[in-house]
């Protein structure tokens, strides 16, 4: 990971990525990735499988080196432990207790074990696990231990790759609450990737959308919410018949299911129902939604949000 004094002096961004590229053999995994991650943000990386999210996180955490471009980390003194991360799986010794794992992490960072260890255990809800080996923890507990390990050095940046992957609803809730507390109470910048976009949307303040190794769009959560697009879904007995009716009203409808038609925009319910009745179509339900993360993502990279 490179450092750039000029960038540090001028920016409030924790990470500045500039023209980052990475290849595995002849395959280009990332190309010309350029964006900044503001301090204190929860930055969501969104992309399909194989888009390059995990590779990007590995580059950010120093696990791998860029083939092109640079990544500038803007933390105090480039100190050991300034970045905490879980990449793929929580990196823990399964034959040791939560406490012993943390002791090793303190040693890894060259820090003395003090009362902060117990505070961390309490913070992630593992204070009462005693001598139980981490190998016997649930997946959620392991993830929380992994996060505790990542927090040992009081990091300014936390990088989490799919932190809720494989967790049950309770586990997802625990990790989400933990991350929200980290962001709000400790002001830690968090970079997070997840396939569960609805979950990500509950955490992230900023997004980078990655497709085929390139960043196709960066946006704040506020910008996505205010994208201004509304979508109307009509459930009816004969979608084929209602298409010309909606086209006549100036929309571009499309059939999304056997009994469903969707179009961008909204129309008065009475207008829709009466026009449809005139065309001999019986409407059973009309639903209007604002643009969400999933729709925004699909709008960028293509595909069907309703599949």
């Amino acid at each position: 990971m490179g450092s750039d004094a000029a960038v540090k002096a001028m920016t409030d961004d924790v990470i500045v990525l500039s023209g980052v590229g990475k290849k595995y053999g002849k395959s280009t995994i990332l190309k010309d990735i350029t964006f900044n991650i503001p301090k204190g943000s929860v930055y969501g990386l969104v992309g399909r499988n194989g888009a390059g999210k995990t590779t990007l996180m590995r580059l950010m955490t120093g696990l791998q080196k860029c083939d092109e471009g640079s990544i500038s980390l803007n933390v105090a003194g480039d100190r050991i432990g300034a970045v905490g991360a879980i990449v793929e799986l929580a990196s823990i010794y399964t034959n040791l207790s939560a406490r012993d794992n943390l002791v090793f992490q303190y040693m890894n960072l060259g820090q003395k074990v003090d009362e902060s260890l117990d505070e961390l255990l309490t913070f992630v809800g593992l204070a009462d696990t005693g001598k139980k080996h981490a190998g016997k923890f649930s997946l959620g507990m392991r993830q929380r231990l992994g996060i505790a390990m990542a927090l040992v050095g009081n990091p300014e940046l936390l990088v989490l790759d799919e932190p809720v992957n494989g967790l049950d609803p309770q586990g997802i809730l625990e990790v989400r609450n933990l991350l929200l507390r980290l962001s709000r109470e400790k002001g830690i910048t968090i970079v997070i990737s997840s396939h569960i976009l609805s979950e990500l949307s509950k955490l992230a303040t900023h997004y980078a959308f990655i497709e085929e190794g390139r960043v196709v769009k960066t946006a704040t959560a506020h910008e996505i919410e205010n994208a201004g697009k509304k979508f109307t879904t009509i459930t009816c007995d004969d979608p084929g018949k209602i298409l010309p009716v909606l086209s006549g009203l100036g929309f571009s409808p499309r059939i999304i299911a056997q009994d469903k038609v969707e179009f961008e925009g909204e129309e008065k319910l009475t207008t829709l129902v009466t026009t449809a009745l005139d065309a001999g179509v019986e409407i059973s339900k009309v639903d209007t939604q604002e643009t969400d993360l999933e729709r925004f993502f699909v709008g960028l990279v293509g595909g069907d949000p309703n599949v």
Binding site: Y24, R58, T61, G62, L63, Q64, D78, R79, I80, G81, A82, V83, G84, A85, V87, E88, L89, A90, S91, I92, Y93, T94, L96, D100, F104, Q105, M107, N108, L109, G110, M149, A150, G153
Partner: protein, 373 residues
């Protein structure tokens, strides 16, 4: 790096596997010491009195006790290093070290340094146990004026060289099982290659000279032996056959079995011998006895003389025979087939140091560049 070394030492201390690995050398040391005692036992004297002097026996016992570790440690080390260092890879903790901001070189050398330390502790435990067993049994020790300790550096360096290889290999291969299997296979292979290469590691020109002298000696001495075979009126009716059995066949054995080069594997074994550490145990064992191959020819003559006392047989005057044999032995000794101690030490120490550098440098280069996380 100091933090990482402390980290590794604590991990070694808290791992049950480490205690097993440190207990095994104790056991191996006791067995090595017992083997040293065995060499000097009365049972062995019966068979070796004519072959090896008492001084050589003392050196043999000492050497056996000091180097007993070398037959087992390479395999034990392969299993320990691959399991222990591999655990950091499979648990993902290696990622924690890199994410924390440690340099790859610091991580790599922290493993190398701590695993070397463990290897040295294993050796010290094993040798101490062996020497204690010898001392308790009041076995005569002979350190060859301290040269034995210099020579001991060679198997110790060779073992550490293997530890470097195992560490580097474990850190360069992501799969957990592969390093374990390959390192164990490597250790087994080296042991076998050592045996093979030390059988065929002579220089071909020296060997040809040696054989040529041997053939002349045989042609000269054989008829003389048959003509002066012992008379054994009460023991056997066929003195020629008896002489053939006791003496001539022995000569054939030494000439044909020990000295005839096995051409098919000579070229493989010679290369292995020159390039690798293969051959340490046999080379050192051979040079240790203070008997070159030429001196083994004397064995038959010794047996011949001993029979006079043992079986009360009547012999012809063997002084002329002795003189002939001594003459040929003198010629044979001029052909230096056996490598001298100092040369042997120097060659092996250089080879092991070079290999250590190859393993470390190669392992580090791969570890630094490879995307294994």
């Amino acid at each position: 790096m100091f933090d990482l070394i402390k980290f590794e030492l604590k991990r070694i201390k808290s791992s049950p596997l480490s205690y097993v690995v440190l207990a095994l050398p104790l056991l191996i040391g006791i067995v090595s010491g017992a083997a040293g005692v065995f060499y000097q036992s009365s049972a062995m004297d019966l068979f070796t009195v004519d072959m090896i002097s008492k001084e050589s026996l003392a050196r043999m016992s000492t050497w056996t006790a000091l180097t007993g570790f070398y037959s087992v440690f390479p395999i034990m080390g392969a299993l320990y290093v691959t399991l222990f260092v591999g655990n950091d890879m499979s648990s993902g903790f290696l990622r924690n070290k890199m994410i924390a901001g440690h340099k790859r070189s610091d991580i790599f050398f922290s493993y190398v340094i701590t695993q070397t330390a463990v290897a040295l502790v294993e050796v010290v435990i094993c040798i101490s146990a062996a020497l204690i067993v010898l001392a308790v049994n009041r076995v005569q020790l002979d350190f060859a004026g301290g040269m034995m300790f210099v020579r001991l550096l060679v198997p110790v360096f060779a073992y550490i060289s293997m530890i470097f290889l195992y560490t580097a290999f474990t850190l360069c291969v992501r799969r957990r099982a592969l390093p374990i299997v390959l390192c164990a296979v490597f250790a087994f292979s080296l042991s076998t290659a050592g045996l093979i290469s030390s059988l065929g590691n002579y220089s071909s020109s020296d060997l040809n000279k040696y054989l040529s002298i041997g053939e002349r000696a045989k042609a000269d001495i054989d008829p003389y032996l048959k003509n002066t075979a012992p008379v054994q009126p009460d023991y056997t009716a066929d003195p020629d056959a008896y002489a053939d059995y006791e003496y001539v066949d022995d000569l054939d054995f030494y000439y044909d079995q020990l000295l005839t080069p096995n051409k098919p594997f000579y070229y493989v074994a010679r290369v292995l011998y020159i390039v690798t550490d293969a051959g340490i145990p046999n080379d050192y064992r051979m040079s240790l006895l203070d008997t070159s191959y030429t001196e083994e020819l004397q064995t038959s003559l010794s047996s011949y003389v001993n029979m006079e006392d043992s079986f009360l047989m009547s012999f012809a005057d063997i002084s002329e025979l002795s003189s002939k044999i001594d003459g040929y032995r003198g010629e044979l000794k001029e052909v230096d087939v056996t490598v001298k101690y100092t040369t042997l030490n120097l060659v092996y120490i250089i080879k092991t140091l070079l290999w250590s550098c190859v393993w470390i440098a190669g392992g580090f280069l791969i570890f630094r560049r490879k995307n294994i996380f």
